[in-house]
């Protein structure tokens, strides 16, 4: 594990370490054991967490809140038998049937609505889907993109480094591919990875940038143009280095 990845993960230590896969947790601990700067950063994050938690739970409570709560609860205690006698049996029967009909109607309308449109996706689910389904997978284990949208990379620089036809990734577990993924290989930067694209209308939290400058978890960068949201995922090499090189060449 390198320092860059370690710095991304140390904020999860020690409280959330068990949320990491055990191999990653062990790799992080091994790295900290041999890297004093990262260990120092981890200790500082731990101190910050403790300080924040201490302040978070320290909330002054109004003096009379307890009495007011008990008084209000006493006033609102349900009276025994009230609900049972509020409506005659016939009225309650009709209300029950009407409720069921309304429920069925809502269920039917909801089903039609749900089936008629693909759900929108959070950027994080796109990133996670790409990481889980593409990273370090051989081409033979991937499906060719089903052309559920016209996946064409507009930027000529990216066109040059995208290899072959796109593969498809399903994120929302419905039929059809949600993402089109191109293999990216840039030997001069020793970079290998993926360029993933998804129609901008499918994303609820479109990344603000129109160029790849935001790095998520040190593994991906995201940006958008008029039609698509793009995510670049690194398998080998650094996304940050790729972006820096990209931006300097653009300038």
């Amino acid at each position: 594990m390198d320092c860059h990845t370690a710095r991304q993960m140390i904020e999860m230590l020690p409280r959330a370490a068990h949320d990491l896969p055990s191999a990653e947790e062990q790799a992080l601990r091994d790295h900290l054991a041999h890297c004093p700067p990262c260990l120092s950063a981890a200790e500082e994050v731990g101190e910050w967490d403790m300080s924040l938690q201490s302040a978070m739970t320290s909330v002054p409570v109004p003096d009379d809140l307890h009495e007011r709560l008990l008084s209000q609860l006493a006033r609102s205690t349900p009276q025994a038998g009230r609900n049972a006698s509020q409506f005659p049996d016939r009225t309650r029967h009709i209300r029950r049937i009407a409720s069921w009909l309304a429920f069925c109607l809502v269920l039917f309308a909801g089903s039609v609505f749900w089936l008629s449109r693909a759900p929108r996706l959070e950027l994080a689910s796109v990133e996670n889907g790409a990481i889980q389904q593409l990273r370090n997978r051989p081409d033979t284990g991937l499906a060719a993109f089903d052309q559920s949208f016209a996946a064409a990379v507009a930027d000529s620089k990216w066109q040059k480094v995208c290899q072959s036809s796109p593969f498809g990734v399903n994120v929302d577990k419905r039929a059809g591919h949600d993402l089109a993924a191109f293999r990216v290989n840039i030997p001069s930067l020793r970079f290998r990875g993926w360029l993933v694209m998804v129609p901008i209308s499918r994303i609820v939290d479109v990344p603000p940038s129109t160029y790849p400058d935001a790095v998520h978890y040190a593994q991906t960068a995201a940006w958008h143009d008029d039609r698509f949201v793009y995510v670049c995922l690194a398998e080998q090499g650094s996304v940050e280095a790729l972006i820096a090189q990209w931006n300097s060449s653009a300038a």
Partner: protein
């Protein structure tokens, strides 16, 4: 007209009202709204007391009621804007934690700057002391989404708090 409370309800209030109020305050940032949320939480608890089968789980149960009531009143927007919660760029040289004790008010001011969808997981993490996996379960979100939101929220929170602390302890 006042009636006797349901059996066990007064004890539930005695033991947990401070924690529930604090939780509501961290979520809402308003004393008045927190009092109202606390009251509503215990009224809903009273109506559903039979659902609480394990007394040791009472606090988490009350937190869940309070959080659901808070989110019902102020639903998370369907579009998550990230303009105010920018991605942390890592790794960077750490500037170090400024001197000075963090106060409840400074923390709340920083929390109030976070959009709800980022503030809620932070409160679950630091106030309710839940791990990432439990937060994902409670909020019905993928674990990766929780990690991403907490990462961004923590970074934003830290920047805000550092600013507050440096302003209150210049030099």
């Amino acid at each position: 007209m006042q009636r006797p409370l349901a059996p066990g309800l007064a004890e539930l209030v005695d033991e947990h009202y401070r924690a529930v109020f604090g939780y509501a305050y961290r979520l809402s940032g308003s004393v008045i709204e927190s009092e109202d949320l606390t009251q509503q939480t215990f009224m809903l608890a009273q109506s559903n007391l039979s659902q609480l089968r394990e007394p040791r789980a009472a606090r988490g149960w009350l937190y869940t009621i309070a959080r659901n009531e808070f989110l019902r009143r102020r639903p998370v927007p369907s579009t998550v804007t990230l303009d105010d919660v920018s991605e942390p760029s890592m790794p960077e040289p750490d500037p170090g934690w400024p001197e000075g004790e963090l106060t409840s008010e400074q923390l709340q001011a920083a929390l109030n700057e976070l959009p709800i969808e980022f503030r809620v997981p932070v409160v679950l993490f630091y106030y309710e002391n839940l791990c990432y996996r439990d937060i994902a379960l409670q909020l019905n979100l993928p674990l990766g989404t929780v990690m991403s939101r907490l990462s961004r929220a923590k970074s934003q929170l830290r920047r805000q708090l550092e600013k507050h602390l440096l302003e209150s302890h210049p030099g």
